[in-house]
């Protein structure tokens, strides 16, 4: 725990995440609307939604257990922590060492387990269906993500995100073919994990298609708000992660608040591009049947492992 400034930076990261996550989601939705040339919802739509949900009272199913009520807070906390750890504004974060890449995967897994349990808690057909599918996606996405991290950390001989970013961003520029594989794999995982087409469709309540929605059907009011916010945070965290791994330039090394003047704009810019691309992918691809999803993620898994092999094969010298 070095200086007050880095603590401040850490706090800033959290705040940025909390603020920017809904914006990002909003931006993605806007882009999707443009692609499907519909009239886009305003950028701040997500904030309004949250506010409304917080206002509403919670309608709780009769046999909901306390786990059901605790889950939203936990999930929200996990996602917030995740977006705190990912280096966006600076690389030396006091809480950085608390969790390295592997632990980060752990955080996501923790959140997933809790949301799945919450989905099963009420005991409706949809809830358990969603939980089942979510775990199915998870058990394939998780190792793939881990493999992506492994590739990166093989390059930088470290699993701590800050070090990875420093290695990639601030050493002399080297082209890593393995990272290309890893990047593709990561994108696929990110799509799956954030309940995006082609794996899931956040905007429908069709029994056949829903995964994430099916689990949170029973949530309402502030609980639902927290979960939605957590989902947005997750998207944000993943995006930042991708940026940090594959486009780390512009994340300053030093502490010093001065560096923020570089960091914030570059982050915003990269997020805009990222969101746009995400929307583009979603538009051009079609929703998969649920049992195609394993194949999709299996491909991602394979690509990630290939990435590692490629690294061991080609880049051993580096």
């Amino acid at each position: 725990m070095n200086s007050a400034s880095s603590l401040l930076l850490q706090f800033l990261e959290l705040v940025t995440a909390l603020v920017a996550a809904p914006l990002l989601t909003g931006w993605v939705n806007q882009c999707r609307a443009w692609f499907g040339n519909r009239s886009a919802p305003p950028l701040l739509q997500f904030y309004r939604q949250l506010a409304k949900l917080f206002e509403k009272e919670v309608v709780l199913a009769g046999n909901a257990s306390s786990l059901f009520r605790a889950a939203p807070y936990l999930i929200f906390a996990c996602m917030a922590l995740a977006s705190m750890i990912v280096p966006t504004l600076s690389t030396d974060l006091p809480f950085g060492p608390a969790a390295d890449a592997i632990a980060l995967v752990g955080i996501f897994a923790l959140a997933r387990v809790f949301i799945a349990l919450a989905g099963m808690d009420i005991g409706t057909a949809f809830g358990s269906l969603g939980a089942r599918r979510e775990m199915l996606i998870g058990f394939l996405a998780e190792p793939a993500l881990l493999m992506v991290f492994f590739t990166a950390s093989l390059i930088s001989h470290s699993t701590s995100l800050s070090t990875i970013v420093e290695t990639l961003a601030h050493r002399e520029f080297v082209i890593y073919p393995s990272l290309a594989f890893a990047g593709v794999a990561f994108t696929m995982v990110a799509l799956a994990e954030n309940a995006r087409i082609p794996v899931d469709n956040p905007t429908t309540h069709l029994e056949l298609t829903m995964i994430h929605e099916a689990m949170i059907l029973e949530y309402s009011g502030r609980h639902l708000a927290l979960i939605e916010w957590a989902a947005a945070l997750k998207l944000y965290a993943y995006s930042c992660l991708g940026l940090a791994l594959f486009f780390p330039w512009g994340i300053p090394e030093g502490t010093g608040l001065a560096s923020l003047w570089v960091a914030l704009p570059s982050l915003a810019f990269k997020l805009l591009i990222g969101g746009f691309l995400l929307a583009a992918i979603e538009t051009v691809s079609a929703k998969l049947r649920i049992f195609r999803a394993p194949e999709f993620l299996g491909t991602a898994f394979m690509l990630a492992v290939l990435g590692m092999l490629v690294h061991l094969l080609l880049e051993k010298a580096t």
Binding site: E55, E57, V58, V59, A61, G62, N63, S65, L74, F76, A77, C78, A80, P97, A98, A99, D100, I102, A103, G106, I107, A109, L110, V113, A116, L117, M120, I122, G123, T124, A125, F126, G127, S128, R132, R133, M135, G138, F139, E142, P143, L146, M147, F150, S153, H157, T159, S160, T163, E207, E218, G221, R222, L226, F291, F301, V305, M308, L309, L312
Partner: protein, 676 residues
Amino acid sequence: MPSAPGFLCLDWILSLVCVWLAIGIAGLFAPRSFHYISRVLYPLGAAVGIALAVVAFAALPATAETMVLPLGLPDLPFHLRLDALSALFLLLLGGASAGISIYAAGYLRKGEGTAPGLQCLEYHLFLASMALVLLADDAYAFMVAWESMALTSFFLVTSDHRMPEIRRAGYIYLLIAHVGAIGILLCFGVLQGNGAEGVAGYTFAHMRGMDHNDFWASAAFGLALFGFGAKAGLLPLHVWLPEAHPAAPSPVSALLSGVMLKTAIYGFLRVCLDLLHHPLWWWGVLVLTLGLATTLFGVVFAAVQSDMKRLLAYSSIENIGLLFVGIGLTLTFQAFGMTALTVLALTSVLYHCLNHAAFKSLLFLVTGSVLHATHERSLGKLGGLIHRMPWVAWLALLGVIASAGLPPLNGFVSEWLLLQAFLFTPDLPHGYINMLIPVAAAAVALAAALAGYVMVKFFGVIFLGRPREEKLSQAHDAGILERVGLCWLASLCVALGLFPVFVIEKLDHVTTSLTGAGLGSAMRANGWLLLAPIDADRASYEPIVFLLCIAAIVVAAFLLVRRFWHGRVRVSGAWDCGFPMQTVRMQDTAEGFSQPLRQVFEPFYRLTRELPGSFDKKPMYRVIVQDHFWYWLYLPVARVAELGTRMVAFLQQGRISIYLLYSFVTLVVLLFLIRG
């Protein structure tokens, strides 16, 4: 021999073991008096367990102590030795058994299976023999303790011997255990080497001194792998495990899975790292691959079980696989003389031993409570128990998180260490292994993720949702003694999860004694909070900070929501997309929940589906998942043996002339042979 004056740790431990024996025998005096046994003897045993743990903990840093008992063979009395490794596993035994015994005290019911007194005897003999296995310092003492362990546990497993399938389970268990034991015995026969002077060559001290050429060393290694693998449930010798664990009473299953499997790990470590000094690199690779196969097999099968104890048994197989993966890495690293990594891998193995002992015993005890509350073992008939038995449910949740390998509990730490060990392999001077390792790492990651799936199924189907049967509504929570036992194990899970640095510092004594180096020195530099095996900016993990962050955010979020908005709640029926009629039958059963996995991993299983016809009056859907190994390995072996018996039967045709002919021919042939 340490010349420390007075009462050594070894003496303490020995006397504690004797107390266990005494308790067991005391059980025989009043075999039917229920209160005497459940309220006096078992708690006493638990106290002994704690004492054992304390002494072993004190013995960890001490130098090795040895002792010779006036028992055993004439030239080969029982040698005992207490070094760091055995101290660690004794600590494990004591800690786990304390919780299990106190739970058993509450768990015991009248009129189940064998007389409680007899069961008490077997139980404590089992504990004592495990302790002796860990202390033994010569082949004979080890084998005696080892087989007594198998025997007592067999009687415990079959304590409800009226059911044929339980007898069958016990039979398979004892058979495989015995064959494995013969393997171990032959392994010692090899280790003792040729220079041995008579019986005195069977002491471990002598074996340590021996130096074998590659062939004999590999033979010993192979036999050890066979023998200890059979006990640990390594593929393809795992079949007894999913049979025996469900058959046993829950505390016994907890002991079997939590502690006894670890004795196999202990033996394997003892032989490979202590008695055999120079592992060959391919040993490591072999163990690694077997471990991976076991891990994947175990978890994939665990996912489709619909009997909660079988599910846990398969998950034990998975964890054993992980342990062997770690051992494989250790051996490989040691073969290439990379000490730092050897230590890392070994630490992860030892750590995971402790973790698995804690959370798996906890989960098995939980199934015990559920069993008593509902008399139901099939997941498909449970559900919604979190309302009826909150204590068990919340403690079970801890165990589930731990065993799913999620932060911040203990399962995650060892998994994290293992993955770290994988990450540093590229420095290996061997190309193929380098290529193999990523795949292995991927498989481990996959297994870990699947474990999450399994655990969600376990917890969700048992405790969440709505009760699938009417009778569940009068389920009752665990009694006070049971709660104490569960809490003890759960707190172990939490402690192991939150203070890894402290634990690893203790593990150092073991790693130093086995490989001559430790992690702790490097880590103590970074302070108590930070777990950084190599150095802080290579990899680090701070469970406490992690937990505090999450807690802080949760609290903050809660308070803020309350502060700015409100906490109003209206209770009503479930919405469920406005779906009109909802029955409890519409929830996922165990089979339903694992259906995606059955599709993904179809080739792994031997599936037999019974689908309803179109016009069934009462349609019935059943799917039976079986193990290929029965049909690929065991039944063929049985068939071969059967063939052999049929062949020898020709010798005994009952005709006396033929018999005379036999002896005549024998005589002539022998005469012919010696003519030369």
